[in-house]
């Protein structure tokens, strides 16, 4: 059975032009839609003839660049906006995780907001009451539930919103990039929940930039480019083709973005702690040619470098790093103490450089922890999930790490190389 059928869907938006000023009430009434006869030049074509089906119980990923039409497609599926032309047929109850915590009022307690948001999402008060405990527990907000929402951190806000939305118990779940804003420790929990939905045979449409997660949880992936389906198929195939396309463009952008991201991270206090007697700053990554870079091949050499400064001389200190994948799993962690380096003195400032001859990771987005602390764990400066880098390569292997390996065959086994993988 098809849970979702999309037929030749077009969506045009009006470009914001001055023509609007001359619109009269009368013409608005006559034309009904107000955009009845837009000239080609006046409109922005967000979707240009999208057609696809999705079988019930399957998980579909939608990828594409910003502005490609992914989110517009999702909004149409959710029934928020209507297509300019074409048809969408869906079977069953839909819940869209596009905006978490819609209708939350900052002055009101979390408890009351659960009811407000739940009713807005289409639950009755009775249904919410039944799921109330579950919602609070999943959001990990037992202690704070009676505080006004304005006192919540962005992570808490997002957790509560997500927790309510998934408890709507839909047949079709639409997810738009909402996981990107969550605190990193909550994301794995969300993914678990999504996996649980899959096991229960729910239909899921997942829009994301996190290709690693898309590959992991989707049965099928659509790549939308400029309002049209560019490609549909097996996740790895589509994401690889997509990566190839954006690769070059991304490289340039990424360098520029790194500076901004770092500033933003500093603002977010909960991700950084410690006494700051030793301070870490300026964390950068370099490739073999010593160029600053944040996108790497699977086995590329790289170096992580950061500045440290101590206001008062220290003799007890440890530097450490941790690498986490997008699901929050620690891929690797080590520090100077574990590698039997005994600290002697740190005075003024210095530079720490960690060289990695071959990365050995699979494709995906990774987070870095960088820390300076005492031998007993007393933190000087702990940067948690503050830095990201990405591994993109043509390798299609999966897992947590890329173990060095080679295939060998003997006897009557024969292979030939696939020229067109």
């Amino acid at each position: 059975m098809e849970a979702v059928q999309v037929r030749d869907v077009f969506k045009f938006y009006k470009k914001h032009a001055d023509s609007h000023k001359f619109l009269t009430i009368k013409s608005a009434l006559v034309n009904k839609t107000l955009f009845g006869d837009l000239e080609a030049g006046e409109r922005f074509e967000a979707l240009r003839g999208v057609t696809f089906d999705l079988e019930a119980g399957k998980t579909l990923g939608i990828i594409g660049e910003n502005g490609s039409g992914k989110s517009t497609m999702l909004k149409i599926l959710a029934g928020i906006s209507r297509p300019t032309a074409g048809e969408v047929v869906t079977q069953g109850r839909i819940s869209a995780l596009i905006e978490l915590g819609a209708g939350f009022h900052p002055e009101i307690s979390g408890r009351e907001n659960i009811f407000i948001n739940g009713v807005i999402l289409g639950l009755t008060r009775k249904q919410i009451l039944e799921k109330y405990e579950e919602i609070v527990r999943f959001a990990e907000l037992e202690e704070f539930i009676d505080n006004p929402v304005k006192s919540y951190s962005s992570g808490m806000f997002m957790r509560l919103g997500f927790s309510i939305a998934i408890n709507v118990n839909p047949d079709i779940l639409l997810i738009d990039e909402v996981l990107a804003v969550g605190d990193a420790s909550f994301v794995p929990k969300c993914l678990d929940k999504i996996n649980e939905f899959r096991r229960h045979g729910k239909t899921i449409i997942f829009v994301s930039h996190d290709l690693a997660t898309v590959e992991r949880i989707c049965d099928d992936v659509i790549w939308i480019r400029k309002g049209k389906i560019e490609m549909r198929g097996y996740p790895k195939r589509v994401t690889d083709a997509y990566l190839e396309y954006v690769g070059k463009k991304d490289e340039k952008k990424s360098l520029a973005q790194h500076g901004e991201e770092e500033q933003e991270a500093v603002r977010e206090r909960e991700k950084r702690w410690g006494s700051r007697e030793v301070e870490i700053a300026n964390v950068r990554m370099f490739d073999a040619a010593n160029r600053e870079k944040y996108i790497y091949q699977a086995d590329e050499p790289l170096a992580i470098e950061f500045d440290v400064a101590a206001a008062v001389e220290q003799d007890d200190f440890v530097f450490g790093i941790g690498v986490f994948n997008s699901e929050g799993i620690q891929v690797y962690g080590s520090n100077t103490l574990l590698e039997n380096l005994v600290s002697r003195s740190l005075a003024g400032s210095g530079k720490v450089r960690l060289e990695i001859p071959a990365l050995g990771l699979v494709n995906g987005t990774y987070f870095l922890d960088i820390a300076a602390h005492k031998r007993d764990g007393y933190p000087f400066d702990y940067h948690h999930f503050q830095y990201t880098f990405r591994v993109t390569s043509s390798h299609r292997d999966v897992g947590i790490a890329r173990i060095p390996h080679r295939w060998q065959f003997s006897g009557g086994i024969g292979f030939k190389k696939d020229e067109n993988p």
């Binding site: 608005a28 009434l29 839609t33 959710a78 596009i98 002055e107 009101i108 009713v119 807005i120 009755t124």
Partner: protein, 266 residues
Amino acid sequence: MIEKLKEIIRHRELIYTLVSRELKARYRGTVLGFFWSLINPLLLMAVYTVVFGFIIGGARAPGFEGNKWMYALFLFNGILPWTWFSSSLLESANVLTVQGALIKKIKFPVEVLPIMVVTTNMVHFILGLPVLVAFFLIFGKPLTAWVLFLPVSLLAQYIFTMGLCFLVSALTVHFKDIKDILANLITLWFFATPIIYPYDSVPRALQVVLNFNPMTHIIESYHYSFFMGSLPHYKRFLVTILVGLVFFYLGYLLFDRLRDTYVEEV
């Protein structure tokens, strides 16, 4: 239309929840809390009592026998329901924009928003009624059984206000200047309604003009049932209810017709 009304009734829990959210949010964190919703009509009453009761001499109009306190009571009697009407109109001009996230980010029955505005303001009005009754007791003016006419007045005002608010909230999305026009229009409308002067003190020729204003009969119905203690002019009132229903129908029709445009325009 009947189908659409049923649809609205199905959303009653949502309306109830949103109205109580508005009320709670308004009273939370303020020391005077609920008192704030009374301050506006009380201030208006004070200003008009001073200006028209003491300075210009509105209290000399028939029915007050020069008694300035009776005049103040009469004023409050009309200003209280008027505040419900005018706040609803002004807020509905903003409501779709202010609550834009609900329209843009989730599937949401938009008509609930103007309904929320009118209903919330009605609750404020109802909460003000005990104060009105208290004033009657303090000033020693007896209330009669005609006070029980109140629900009918309430219903008539609700229907008419709702119709206008559908109209206003739908149109302001597309024509932002309506907001500015509206504020002036409401001031004008206030003076074109017998609130600071009694209907009977108006020359007959002007009464004909006043009769075309539905708010005249709605406010008059409050004057009759509270201040004068008699049955409102039921023929005029019935016509007003019919006019209110026409406004409601037209307002909703337009609101429904422009429904798809809100997502993109707010």
